[in-house]
Assembly symmetry: C2
Homo-oligomer: 370 residues x 2
């Protein structure tokens, strides 16, 4: 259910109620500008992933800086983006079931909406839905480039499915989805490069198979914040899907080399609610305020404090220096371990600049899982 | 933001859109009845924890079966419960900051609302807020009985803080909060008993210290689903706060001995969206549909399938038997690893009985973290 915003516009940041999801607007805007600059002058399109931010407000700011549109993972996310004014959405995922397919095809009457496939029956179902709504859907074949999640195997299997897509009157074969999600967080930059080199080889193999089948491949889309420079330099990728670069998180900050050019711009603001012993303090943010799937949050600017464990509504801090000043009521900025599922726990971004609340942006696709 | 319900009342369960949070109403009601029966005839009050279900619909069903009221962890949860008709709420947590204290005191004008403390300044702030709203707040002293989270140390420190509470005109000393959260999931039943025996000893030490200070201790409240029988038999606890017993989860099912009397009644219904290789299938539910802090979900009734890993919107299934029937479009009931933070990801309970959707209950306190 939608909660009230934990702040008011114009309020000093010191008065924001906690826990709150806070964006450092200066750092966030610098991140937007840095990504735009890094692709400027190339032929690469930027299509940032909206599964990170789940907000058309952010999506439109990305488009204003040159992004071609956004990616989504769910039809409900795509609906939130289109309803919020984003005109070009690629669902980088397989969509299954008659209710979802009808929603997807219907949405394509209002905006440019593409989707991915890896299954022959799903191609037929998608075609039927598209024709029922009188649209011709751009469809990308998802190729498994090493993540071992969705996607057909590279080469001939990709070409076979693409041929089937191209033969459907309600569909248009629009290229390859080739995202290596498991490479993004490999800490060693050379090992990360090797993983992406392998992905690039699998893309080439697939593009060659398409070519032999007489199917031009107008787009190869993929890449994330941890690897985007490799795909950008590959000569085969045409579109970059990075998402986390806008906010970063504690896990991405452990990754060596790039993407260190991006700053932490997203925080869970928490308040110390208990300091009952010398070596321990407890904050009012736990598993329902930040996600721990990629590790505990890090306390910004306080290397003397470590988030040791989290329960549903509590974060337990270990005080490396028991003499360090930590008192009930103190406010701490936690850098979440993983930004995407953390954002999905909140209804509002509280944007701050110069110590003041400047923006309250609804996270319109929070909870949009269907 | 509030999402649309993924089902309609009366619909066959086979048509529920996925992922969806599904309650097996028969199993859930049996769980409610079992807990009520296990405390019937004792002097123990049941005050189930609403942080589990976050829904006044469920809270009122617990009250209808004899519960004295509910517990909450957050003021915003308590607001949702009171607004939904629950007349007696204990916030089993420390509440810090002027905005929250004002909301808490104001809420106490509408219902019986208690709170916990472990800090002298917080006692003074609470008293000021209570007097500003013309209420006398019942206040429990939280004692650290082994969880090493919030709470003063047992014995004299508890009595000292209780004396301070009793001296405030806006507050009423109402007993001890003594919850050993870390004992609940200890798998070995004897080790669990030892942890709770230690907690009980710390409670006795504190009650004795209160007695020496001339302060009667009208309530000792605590206990969870994994340990409630031990606290119930202790002779010192007066109130049981178990929450998870209504739904259970995969982690609680690993615990030996009781609480095995309770059934899994909560599921994340998911659809197979990809079956691109022989040994792997992918479902449309990931970190944004279930919490993994206590491990991966378990597929109900399908020991041949293992949820191997989860990314934001995908769950990757390992097929122990590659010949097993798993096809795109198949629907699977996942038992979440940890029910509380999983529920907090969803806006609606879809209640099913006899293969049909019978109830859609709003999760009114979803996201209520402030």
């Amino acid at each position: 259910m939608t909660t009230r915003p934990p702040a008011d516009i114009g309020m000093p940041a010191a008065e924001i109620d906690t826990p709150a999801l806070v964006v450092d607007l200066d750092a966030y805007e610098r991140n937007l500008d840095r990504m735009a600059a890094s692709l400027a002058g190339t032929r690469l399109r930027l299509r940032p992933h909206a599964k990170t931010h789940k907000s058309p407000v952010v999506g439109l700011q990305q488009v204003a800086r040159g992004a071609v549109g956004v990616c989504c993972q769910k039809v409900s996310e795509a609906e939130a983006m289109v309803n919020g004014g984003v005109r070009n959405v690629l669902v980088t995922n397989e969509i299954v079931g008659p209710r979802k397919l009808a929603r997807l095809a219907s949405l394509a009457r209002q905006a440019e909406v593409g989707v991915c496939v890896d299954d022959p029956q799903n191609v037929r179902d998608l075609d039927a839905a598209a024709r029922a709504f009188g649209v011709r859907l751009p469809v990308l074949v998802e190729v498994n480039v090493g993540a071992n999640r969705c996607g057909v195997e590279p080469g001939e299997p990709a070409a076979t499915l693409a041929r089937q897509v191209a033969a459907q009157p309600g569909l248009r074969f629009a290229g390859l989805q080739a995202y290596q999600g498991r490479a993004q967080h490999i800490q060693d930059v050379e090992k990360r490069r090797e993983a992406i080199d392998l992905a690039i080889a699998k893309v080439r193999e697939s593009v060659d198979a398409l070519s032999r089948a007489g199917l031009p491949c107008e787009a190869v889309t993929g890449a994330g914040t941890g690897s985007y420079r490799f795909e950008a330099a590959s000569g085969v990728y045409t579109e970059i899907q990075a998402g986390s670069y806008i906010f970063m998180d504690a896990d991405y900050k452990k990754v060596e080399g790039f993407p260190s050019e991006f700053e932490n711009a997203l925080f869970v603001l928490a308040t110390v609610m208990s300091r009952a012993t010398r070596d321990r303090a407890v904050v009012d943010a736990g598993l329902k305020a930040f996600s721990v799937d990629s590790g505990m949050p890090v306390v910004q600017g306080r290397p003397d404090l470590e988030v040791q464990r989290a329960s549903d509504e509590h974060g337990v801090l270990l005080l490396r220096d028991p003499a360090a000043p930590v008192r009930v009521g103190d406010r701490l900025f936690l850098i979440p371990g993983h930004c995407d599922p953390t954002i999905n726990l909140h209804d509002w971004y509280v944007g701050i600049r110069g110590g003041r609340v400047e923006a309250l942006w609804p996270i319109a696709a929070r909870g949009a899982v269907v």
